[in-house]
Amino acid sequence: MSYGEFRDLDGDLRRFQVRLGVAGAVVLGAFLVLLGRFAYLQLLQHDYYKTKAEDNRISIVPVVPNRGLILDRNGIVLARNESQYTLEINPRQVTNLEQTINELAAVVEILPRDRNRFRKLRQEIKGADSLPIRTRLSDEEVARFAANAYRFPGVEIKARLFRSYPFGATASHALGYIGRISDRDLERLEADGLIANYKGSDFIGKSGVEATYERELHGTTGTAQVEIDAGGRGIRTLSSTAPVAGNNLVLTLDIKLQEVAEQAFGKFRGALVAIDPTTGGVLAFVSRPGYDPNLFVDGIDPQSWQALNEDENKPLNNRALSGAYPPGSTIKPFMALMALQLGKRTPEYTISDPGFYMLAGLARPFRDWKVGGHGAVNLHKSIVVSCDTYYYGLAADMDVDQQHAFLSQLGFGSPSGIDIDGEKGGLLPSREWKKKRFKRPDEQKWYVGDSVSVGIGQGYLLATPLQLAFASAIVANNGIVYRPHVVSQVVDARSGEARRIEPQPARTVALNQKWVDLVKAAMVDVTRPGGTAARAGAGALYKFAGKTGTAQVIAMKQGEKYDEKKVAERHRDHALFVAFAPAENPTIALGILVENGGHGSGTAAPIARTVLDYYLLGKVPDKKPELDADAPEG
């Protein structure tokens, strides 16, 4: 080895060590950059990231409040929350849903409607954690599944609160029902600023009291701070604010009376509203046929929904407040009261009824229901025997707008304002209405002939059964008007404090008591021998004021003979009845409609008697009343 080579190697070594030094500096620099980054994140930005980590970790979970109960006037529960066992599937934990459901069907009963509902829920609620395949499991079924649970990962038995209506279809149109919150419900909640209170809620009132008092019934949603993992699963609860249960509702409804009224209808369709005239409280609210609201509470299956909608008896229609019918002769007491009040008739004014009414300029007569007529008829008799001819003349003498103004005060032509959604106002015609309704100038004019038909409750006049009951209540209460309502008290679920709804008189109709007493007396005689409802009134132990009515379903040409027996059942006349009792101090007023019931005296009046006997005397009907659609006119 030469000296030079040694020097060379030394130079190599030095150069290498310089390079190594540079590399070491880079390493130190890089680690200092890291340390700086750590200090930045962990000291300067620490609070920010700490909050971020907390936000990650903690989720605010809504705690749904218990829905308020609905009670009848005597404290009988009409809608409650029931703990039910449901069998629920977490779709994300189950790989083959069909197969799992088939295997489950061997353990607990699973009907096609359960499968359909499950399928429907799965489409509606994407990404759900748990969906019910079966609800309302029996204890035995729970036990059977528990023994087999190991075979079904992702399937669980859960205890959940379900709305339950122990009386089933009874009062269904007053109570309404709850159902799953739809997109439209969400939009409305959003618009009303209530959406936050519905976080976690699955159900909302869809109709009836359940819908109108939704805000009272729902309660205030509580919150729980829950620690969650990255998958969103709850690990443990850190803190919570308890939900506030919804308020309970006490109804004016008497469920026993309601049952009596509904049973009184027998096989007939129709509606009945019973009002306490001194408060406006609705005592019974019938629309037949009803439906079982329990079908809706855990999500109605498509078949049941279709069946309800396609049923030709239209069980979902609330006839009591949305069905508009010609009131027929039940309008007569109100017409009579109007004529007396406006000075168009005196009690003594008497006509001679030949069985028809001739209007000047018209060749065709308006016929009375009774061929040959009723002879000499004054106002009292006109109500008792339901004389058409008297009212043809009376209506012809009335100005239609005056009539509109008076009958409006009795509640015709506009919704009563009852606390159930979907109320219709019926139709109380006026000149203005006709002008708006028709296009051709000759059709827009109001004719005396129009008035004549309205005089006996036909023509353009339409009223709901609720309006008939309301008008009866106003007359029964001598003109002091209480708004009809179904809910009497809202009871705070925590404090038990009750908030009464009304009854303050909404307004007063100026009526001469002499005329009111006169009309009432005539209505009492309607149910006595000689009156059109004499049969229904026979042996009543209280003063029973009423008025029968018949409404044509298909337009009959004047003069054409009408033979009920030959007309198909669906084309038979509707029977109507208005009533109140006891006449000297009424505590109940009724409006009754029996679809295709023939005459008021045959079907509607006996129903009234049954209801009044129960309400006033506590008499439980021992057998179904014989309703006779073929009874003679009333």
């Binding site: 590399a23 070491g24 890089a30 890291l34 994140l41 930005q45 990231y49 907390e54």
Partner: protein, 380 residues
């Protein structure tokens, strides 16, 4: 009897470097604690890692007994074998997640690219040792070729992370061998300018319709997500955001062992492998990070010391390169987890769960020990 045991111990540890071993064991210990917390739901990982450590230490022990001269003799065959395997991967390799990286030999499946992390510095160190006396520009070109071929093969798999690590390993050897500053400085300046440009024009070049020449879509995505993680908070950005939150929320002293909420509520992805540093950082805070950095610096410093005192050019280059590779692993991983480098599949050395990287790293430590122990033998 006692005498026998003492002699056996001496014999077993005669080639083991105390300083390297002690720092490595300390880092391993921190790693096991962290892994226990990170893999709380999967305790089998801890046992698996202990087995990995056993295997890796054996590999180190063997490597430490192999003299550098022998290593030099095997440098070329190992490199050629690695190259052939890479070609085999390109032809018959198994495709997993769209990348052809794996080779099946019997029941064992492995990534030949891993071999290159050791084979590359060996080969280049051997080459420069051969040309030591007459090092010319031509030699650097040959070295560049030796480096480029396998790097390209790996990049094409595609596995940009490993390709960059292999490139880095080769570059360290070339740099330490004395590559002219006139070549290094302009490239470094150009690179710095490019980096700044990318950061400044991030919003333009990261538009979905912009195609980066030579990059796969997912590679572009990784860089773009690093530049602005919020563009993809639930996808690629989720890793970076959640890891950064874990580090930041750790604060000065950390949340305490087993108390990391990000870790235990499963917000940190890959928390026992590539992102284990987020777990460590969340639970032990800035102080823990500083301790880990110091331990790494001690280990690297010992490596530099060994390199500086190595008797031959080959040994020097090899020792320096191995030390720098170790540094690269640590820096890239911690930089990635703390959000200053893109997400590439690089484990945290001696901490992350996983056998392959552990064996590679311990082989490197074994070579360093061998160089240190065989220093005098060569000189005398």
């Amino acid at each position: 009897m006692m005498q026998l045991a003492a002699r056996l111990w001496d014999r077993l540890t005669e080639n083991i470097d105390g300083t390297l071993m002690l720092t490595a064991v300390l880092i391993l210990a921190l790693g096991l604690f962290t892994l226990y917390s990170a893999a709380y739901e999967n305790p089998a990982r801890l046992q698996g890692q202990l087995v990995n450590i056993g295997v890796a230490c054996t590999a180190m022990w063997i490597a430490a007994r192999v003299p550098p001269q022998t290593l030099m003799r095997y440098a070329v065959p190992i490199y050629v074998l690695g190259l052939l395997l890479l070609v085999a991967v390109a032809l018959f390799g198994e495709t997993v997640n769209g990348a052809r990286r794996w080779l099946h030999v019997g029941v064992v499946r492995f990534q030949p690219s891993e071999i290159m992390k050791i084979a590359m510095p060996l080969m280049l160190a051997w080459y420069f040792q051969r040309r030591e006396a007459t090092l010319q520009v031509r030699d650097y070109l040959v070295a560049a070729l030796i480096l480029a071929v396998p790097a390209l093969l790996i990049a094409r798999q595609p596995d940009l992370g490993t390709a960059l690590l292999v490139l880095a390993a080769g570059f360290y050897v070339i740099f330490l061998a004395g590559l002219s500053w006139r070549l290094i400085v302009p490239v470094a300046v150009l690179g710095a300018i490019g980096l700044v440009a990318i950061i400044v024009f991030e919003s333009q070049i990261c538009q979905p319709d912009v195609v980066w020449p030579g990059f796969k879509a997912y590679q572009k995505g990784r860089v773009c997500t690093l530049l602005d993680p919020t563009t993809d908070p639930l996808g690629r950005g989720f890793h970076i955001i959640q890891a950064t939150i874990a580090v930041g929320s750790g604060g000065l002293t950390g949340k305490g062992w087993l108390e990391g909420t990000q870790t235990h509520l499963e917000f940190i992805p890959e928390r026992s492998t590539d992102f284990i540093f987020a777990v460590f950082s969340e639970e032990f805070g800035l102080l823990g990070n500083a301790v880990l950095l110091v331990l790494y610096l001690l280990l690297l410093g010992r490596g530099f010391y060994i390199a500086a005192g190595a008797p031959t050019f080959f040994a020097r280059l090899l020792a320096g390169a191995i030390t720098l590779i170790f540094f690269t692993y640590a820096f890239v991983n911690m930089g990635m987890v703390s959000g200053i480098l893109p997400v590439v599949g690089v484990p945290l050395p001696l901490v992350s769960y996983g056998g392959t990287a552990l064996v590679t790293l311990f082989l490197g430590l074994g070579i360093l020990m061998s160089i240190q122990k065989h220093r005098k033998l060569v000189q005398s």
